[in-house]
Symmetry: C2
DNA sequence: ATGGTGTTGTTAACAATTTAACGACTAATC
DNA sequence: GATTAGTCGTTAAATTGTTAACAACACCAT
């Protein structure tokens, strides 16, 4: 049974938080969690949690709570987290390296399958068993390996060009760290991630009263 | 004239986008921008843009648009971006290094003033003219340098402890990259940034129909 | 059994946000 | 000058998201 209903962005964000917390509970050996357990751990009203879970078509038991394994399976299925989708990084500077080395890939249902860079001194080096390839190989590698997602961390001047290449090669999702609005067809899911956002938000929130 | 009204989170996010776009227009030599210019570049309805700008107490001219310099000044003032607030990074792994080397600091109104790490092989090394200091020095350095913000990129097990230290030292904002809910008083602004979020969101958005 | 208690599923009220609409004003044109 | 076209400021409506409330249900104790 699949929900055709679209979830709001904030709801997706909350569900991601739920998943993390519930998996923590699971590690602690819990078999059931209540909406209050989740809510109080996250600072979210229990009713809100129930409503989100309700939208999943969940099946909790009154007085007991939700079955941890079932809830995890539901959310992971919703997010398609249990299929290791091949992904690549384009631009292997500091940020690219940090992302490549993080544990986010498996958490997000992806597998780092290729790394590309422009710099001849970087191309050919190894990282975690992966050889860094030249930009010229992007199209072919994406095609042959069936890569579905590209993380773009190149200089601003090259971003659109790189995006065009990966789109033509059939990539379905782009995680764009470059502060540039990519011009892409709607069939490609683009998430823009500006590093400065967090800083600016904090700067705003701590602005001295005038 | 200061607005006591609180802006919604989504409005803050949009204003950050506006700022980037408007500064691009400025680089291109434009003196005025219309709400349509901004909106179409961002995929946002012009009316929405006007309403956001209206909330700033803006002063556009019909038929002409908004004065670029004035608009930039307004938003930068709103976000307190023109005061170089000292900040620090705690945890100098790959992610810490990537953040340290990025140009986000000046964009976000901060200045990287100190770097801390636990690893003896890293402590004492230099990065961009900054000596990496030991964790033990955090409290003193924050106090003496008046550091207002801390970026935390340490392992999960150390996050809460580090947060407590910086909070006691007087830090007013924390940018938390650790997938852990920090327990902090409300006087401290905490922004949580999970790297996996972007991936999970993309995974969700490109989930094959079932 | 039976009543009490805690928790879910679900609905309804409420609040916030987005979208739409339109008068007012400015600059350009004839 | 008068007219036209384009854009802002502002208000109202529609949509969306959040919060509150409560009946139904399951477990527990007696």
């Amino acid at each position: 049974m699949v929900k055709p209903k679209r979830l709001s962005r904030s709801c997706v964000l909350r569900l991601e938080l739920y998943l993390e917390i519930i998996e923590q509970f699971q590690k602690e050996g819990r078999q059931y969690v209540t909406s209050s357990d989740i809510g109080s751990a996250l600072g979210i009203a229990p009713g809100n949690v129930r409503q989100d879970l309700f939208g999943l078509g969940s099946a909790g038991r009154p007085k007991v709570g939700y079955e941890v394994t079932r809830l995890i399976a539901l959310i992971r299925d919703l997010f398609d987290l249990d299929r290791e989708k091949p992904a690549c990084i384009i631009g292997f500077g500091n940020l690219g390296r940090a992302l490549a080395g993080s544990n986010m890939w498996s958490r997000g249902g992806y597998k780092l399958a290729a790394i590309f860079d422009n710099d001849p001194s970087i191309v050919g080096t190894d990282f975690a068993g992966l050889r860094v390839r030249s930009i010229a190989e992007i199209f072919g590698v994406i095609k042959t390996q069936g890569i579905e997602m590209a993380v773009i961390t190149v200089p601003a001047s090259a971003a659109q060009e790189v995006a065009d290449i990966v789109q033509n090669a059939g990539v379905k999702a782009i995680w764009n760290f470059v502060p540039v609005r990519l011009n892409m067809p709607e069939t490609v899911a683009v998430e823009n991630q500006s590093l400065a956002w967090g800083l600016i938000t904090l700067s705003h929130r701590t602005r001295p009263a005038q």
